[in-house]
Structures are given as C-alpha cells and as structure tokens.
C-alpha cells in the first residue's frame, strides 16, 4: 500500500484549501437553511418599508401603525445614501416619507404631495405601495364625503381595509429543511467540485509527474496495483468528504433524513463522484498546479451560475437553461427542484435525471481513461 500511503501523505498537505471550502460551505448553509419557511395558506407579502414621518400628527401616526401591522418596518437613517444602499441591496422595498401637512391635507380634501416615494426604479414594491396609499387616502376621503369626521374616517378606513378577498391557495408540495429551495443540497453543487479540485487535483497532479511515475514504474509495485491504490485513495477521500457533508446536514437539520430527502442524498453522492471525475480531468489537463484555483473558480462558478445554483432556475432565460443542460450541475439542480417542490414531482423524470447524471459519470470516466492512456503512453515513449 505504498502508493496509497503516498497519496494520503500528499493529500494531508493539500487539505488546507479544502478545509476553507468546507467551512465556507457550512457557514453559507447555516445562513440560508435556518431562514427557510414553507407556506400552506395565502398571506399577503410583507414588504420591507422604512417610513419617515415628517408630519408627526395623530393622523400620520395612524397610517404608520396601519402599515406596521401589515408590513415590516425597517429602521434606516434618514440619509439619502443610506436609503439608496438599502434600496439597491433590497434591504427595503419601499422608502416612504409622510410629508409635512399630511393631516391638514386630509382634512382639506387635498391629496397632492401627501407622500414622497424615494426609489431607484419602478419595482413591484413601489407599484403595490403606491396603489395601497391611494386606496387608503381614497377610502378616508369617501368616508368624509359620507359625512364622517376625519378621526372617524381614519378609524373606519382601518376597519374596512382589514376585510379582504377570500383567497384560495393551491399549495405546491413543499420540501422541508435541507431539501428546501434555499437549502443545503443546492449549494453543494458549487462547493463539492471546489473541494475536489482544490484537494484531489493537486494530489493527482503530483502523482502524475513523470519522475514520480517513472520511479513507481521501475519499483516492484505492478502498474495495475498502483492505479488501484490511487483509485482507492481517491475513493476514500470522496467518500469522506461526502459523508462529512451528509453528517453535517443531519446536525443542521436537527433530525435524520427521511422520505424524499434520500433522493437528495443519492443525488449528492452521484454529484460527488462527478466532482471527483472533474477534478481528475483538471489534473490531467493542467500542466501545473499554480493556477489551479483560478481554473477551479471558472469551472465551479460558471457551472453554478449557468445551472441555477446561485440564481433560481425560474429566473434563468431559456437559452441559459439550454446551455446548462450540457453540464451535470443542471441535472443535479433539476432533481433538487423536484424534491423541494419548485418543480412538479414526477418519479419517472426524477429517475431519468439521475440516470443522466450517471451517464455524465460514465462519460467523464471514459474521457479520463482515454487521457490516462494517452498520457501514460506518451510518458513511456519519452
């Protein structure tokens, strides 16, 4: 087992980058998995709003309270740059200023310039809130026209607007915990190849160096045995990383996998093998290891962005999806989407997607064998 021992010795030296990838992945998963939720009944979307009440009257306070009961009020400094940043990074959806004179205008039946909407672009949040504020003011004006006082009109408006339409919610089957759309298995498609390329590729590149290979070839170890030991070392590493992720998943979820989660586990196993094969191909094609991380980033980030890992699949254009179909991460994500309920669950399709991943394994393995054969023969000739 000399080659196996050598494999592990080199691997030990390369584990630092791999550990950084694993730590980043787990940090990201803790952030995203914990915030997941699933809906069974319809509830109005709560918009994140910051309100600057420049009127500061009971009437304006009534509006602030009414909005606060329905939406999330965010505290933002009343500073143009702070509001711009919050809107740009979607920390708030709407920045409302209740202008001075709001209560007076309500009493006088004037409407112009009651509020200021500070925005960066016409968004859904802006459209919704503008419509809501018009409805609110219109309702108060109608009540006043019906003979009510301003205070009573505000009260009536609050009550009337609370009674809404009957909404029937057709629920989609939702995943839970780790199999959910924002969860654990989704980001594995980025981190698994990153871990494999950062750790496995340099080890294989070192073992592929001609002088190491020559030395192994002229030793008493048979080439088949050496290849088998390298394969065994790779398998141990891939299995360890996969088991680490799966075990960490159990801790993050707080319970053992059940039901459809097992499809995700199987899917991740297949993807781990694919990632290892990608690392093998990179090791065979890259002449030196100094630029390995840049190559790894091009592969991992590129594949993740094209295959709906960082950006939800539903937002990707058809042409991007078509291009993504040539990459294994696309089928990995498709299986996850089916399990988490983003796509309709169809067992036949699910098995066929897993089959496509298996085909990627076979194809990558065949290319790796071919390259191995070519490289091996070229070394022997030299």
């Amino acid at each position: 087992m000399q080659v196996f021992k050598l494999f592990m010795k080199i691997l030990k030296k390369k584990l630092l980058l791999s550990a950084a990838c694993v730590a980043s992945f787990l940090a990201l998963c803790i952030i995203t998995t914990v915030t997941n939720s699933s809906e069974k009944t319809f509830t109005d979307t709560k918009i994140d709003i910051c309100i600057f009440d420049e009127d500061n009257t009971p009437e304006s306070q009534a509006l602030v309270d009414y909005i606060a009961a329905r939406h999330n009020i965010k505290e933002i400094e009343n500073d143009r740059q702070a509001i711009t940043d919050a809107l740009f990074y979607s920390r708030i959806d709407y920045a409302l200023t209740i202008n001075k004179g709001y209560a007076q205008k309500l009493a006088d039946g004037e409407t112009e310039g009651m509020f200021t909407d500070r925005h960066l672009s016409e968004s859904y949040g802006t459209a919704y809130m503008n419509n809501f504020l018009e409805e609110y003011v219109s309702c108060i004006n109608t009540c006043i026209a019906g003979g009510e006082s301003l205070a009573s009109a505000i009260d009536t408006t609050g009550k009337v607007l609370s009674e809404g339409t009957d909404v029937v919610m057709i629920s989609k089957p939702q995943g839970s915990g780790l199999s959910d759309g924002n969860g654990y298995f989704r980001y594995l498609a980025y981190f698994m190849p990153a871990v494999m390329i950062s750790s496995l590729s340099p080890v294989l590149m070192t073992l592929n160096k001609s002088e190491v290979r020559f030395r192994t070839n002229c030793s008493t170890i048979r080439p088949v045995s050496a290849a088998f030991q390298i394969f065994a070392g790779s398998t141990v590493f891939v299995a360890s990383v996969w088991l680490l992720f799966i075990t960490a998943g159990v801790f993050l979820k707080g319970e053992f996998y059940s039901g459809n989660d097992w499809w995700c586990v199987l899917n991740s196993l297949l993807f781990s093998v694919i990632s290892a094969l990608i690392a093998l191909l990179v090791a065979m094609l890259m002449p030196k290891s100094d630029m390995l991380m840049l190559v790894a980033n091009v592969i991992c980030l590129g594949m993740s962005f094209l295959c709906g890992v960082f950006v939800p699949m539903e937002l990707l254009s058809d042409s991007v999806k078509r291009a993504g179909q040539f990459l294994p991460a696309y089928w990995y994500t498709m299986v996850n989407e089916m399990i988490n309920g983003t796509a309709v669950f169809d067992k036949i399709k699910l098995v066929s997607y897993i089959g496509i991943e298996a085909a990627f394994v076979a194809a990558f393995a065949a290319v790796a064998l071919l390259l191995f054969k070519l490289k091996f023969s070229s070394v022997r000739q030299s």
Partner: protein, 375 residues
Amino acid sequence: MFTNDYKYTLLSTLRNKRLIGWLMIFPIVLSILFKVTFSGIYDKQVSFDPVPAAIVEDEPNEAFSSVIDSVSKGENRLLDVTYTNEEEALELLDKGDVFGVIYTSDIKLTVNGTGIEQTILKSFTDRYLVTEKLLNETAAKHPEKLPDVIASMSEDITVIEQDRLSQGNPDVYITYMYNLIAMVAVCSSVTGLSTVTETQADFSALGARKCISPTPKLINILAVLCSSWTVTAVCMMISVTFLAFVLKINFGTRLPLVYLGALMGGMTGVSMGFTIGSLVKGSYEKKNTAAMIVSLFFSFMSGLMLGDMKYIVQDHIPWFNLINPAAVISDSFYFLNIDEGYERFISRLIIMVIMIIVFTLTGFIFTRRKRYASI
C-alpha cells in the same frame, strides 16, 4: 539600477504567460457567463410589469368587469388579463402563465404562491370590495350622501411625489461584475508573491544572485513590486475594457474613474500578495495556497458567490467591509454608479492607498535583513 531591475523583472513577468493568461482569461470567461446568466433577471424579478391574471366570468358582473378593464388598459396598467373558463384558468395558473385566477361572481381569488404579484392581485380585489362595501353602507345609512360618495370614489387622485434617488444603474446583479473585477484584483496577489520569491536567496537562483549584487535590497524589491503592479494594471485595464465595451456592462457615467478604481484595486491585490508572501513561511506552493485562500475568502465575503453577503456583513460586522480589499474595491465601483457625488468613492480610494502602504511596508519589514547560513 531601479530602471534596469524594473525592466528585466517586467520582461520575466510577461514571460510567465500562463499566469498572465489566466488573470485575463478568468474575468473574461466568468463575465461572459455572468452576462448570459443575469441578463434580464433584474427586469423579471424587480422591474414592474403588469401582473398576468386569468379572469373567470362565471356570472356577469358588469361593475367589476368595467373596473378590470380600466386597470388592464393604457400605459400604466396594473393587470394583464386573460378571460377564460375555470378549467383553463387553473391550467394557466399551474403552468405559471398567470399569478392568480379572479372570479367575477363573488370576487374570489385563487393563487398558488405568496409573492408580491399575488399580493397586488389581492390588493386590487380588496380595493373593489372596499368600494362596494362603502357604497352599500352609505346607501343604507345616508342615501342623500350617495352622490358625494360616488363623486369622491370616481376622483382620480395623486398622493405620491416621486423622488428617484439615483440616475445610476439600479440592477443589483451588476454587483457580481464589480465583485468579479475585485476578485481579479485580489487574485493578483499571486503576482505579488514573486516580490518575495524573486528577491530572497532561499527561494530562487535569481533571488540568490540579487542578494549578492550591490543593488540595495529595497531597490530590488521596489523594482519587482512595481513591475508586478504594472502587469496587474494592464490585466485590470483589459478586464474593465472587456466588460464595458464588449459585454456593454453599464458602469454608470464615470467610466474613466472605474479604470482608476480597478487600477488601484490591482495594486492593492499585488501588495497584499507581497505581505502574504513575506508572512507565510515555507515553499512557493504554500504561499500560493495561502494567497488563494485569502483571496477566495475576501471575494466570498464581498458577495462574489452570494450577492447579499456584503450587506449581511455590513449589518453585523461593518468594520470588516472596510478592511476587506475585495469589498473596498467592489464598493468603489458601486459608489461611482449609484452616488451623485464623489465622497464615498474617494473614501474607498483612500482606503486602498492606505492598504497599499500598509501591505507594502509589512512586506518590506518581513523581507529585510535576512541572513542565510545555507541555501
């Protein structure tokens, strides 16, 4: 002495074609992928388009139908409606072609999600029901006020003044491009490593020769550092040019300053590499791994993989965004795009200058006065 050293180091750096190639290929390939992936997403996700809805007229309701017509026509329409029967409406809902099904008989809504589009549909039907209720109540309690109430309801009101905060590009996905340039800059730290490996006797034959030459070590190091800055500057210029002119990424109206930000970012990255190279003991490979880990960590924290990350960091540990070179570089582009003034951009440039000075001085301190008993 300096000119000679600078010239030859520059030539030898340029001959490291793989490194230079990757520093150029990396942003070009990834920016193409980003461009392909993100084109149109902002419009789809944030920019308002009329909300598609299916209308099922199970029983005639002229008043409601006329309201639907009024909000589904014209330039600023709220809804994009399709009149159909229940079965087809539910099929459209299932396929995702519409966000909700509105029934005209008893004003009911069927949805299959809880997004903002569904909320807008509900807000529309709510508004109609409120109007109807107020009319009925007035007709029952104060019939004499009915004409006033109808007049008030029919009035077109404008309650909101619009204040657009910036004329810059509001597309949040452009931050991925900023972070990509920032990542190229921090990954340039790999070139900064050569400042250590090419000037220290225990790393290369060239380093050993330089150590015994009469040229002061400070001049040697400065020459290598300047040549690395030059090469990285060229890579950064090419990256920004490719993004701005080939991919037509909208950096706002102050493109020359984007070049300045990129240039300073590249220098910051190289200086960071110099510091890492001088602090991490061991082989070139070890230094290279350390530089890559630090670069990737900074890029991750500035939002290269997850766009929200920088703002999450801003919420919890705001000082980290000021010491993270990738975040500082990416912020400088963001401020140029979104701000009307230059204050915040200049503040980020100053931080970069401070970083360059601190990194370079640290590098100098840890590489000077080395004595070798044996190499």
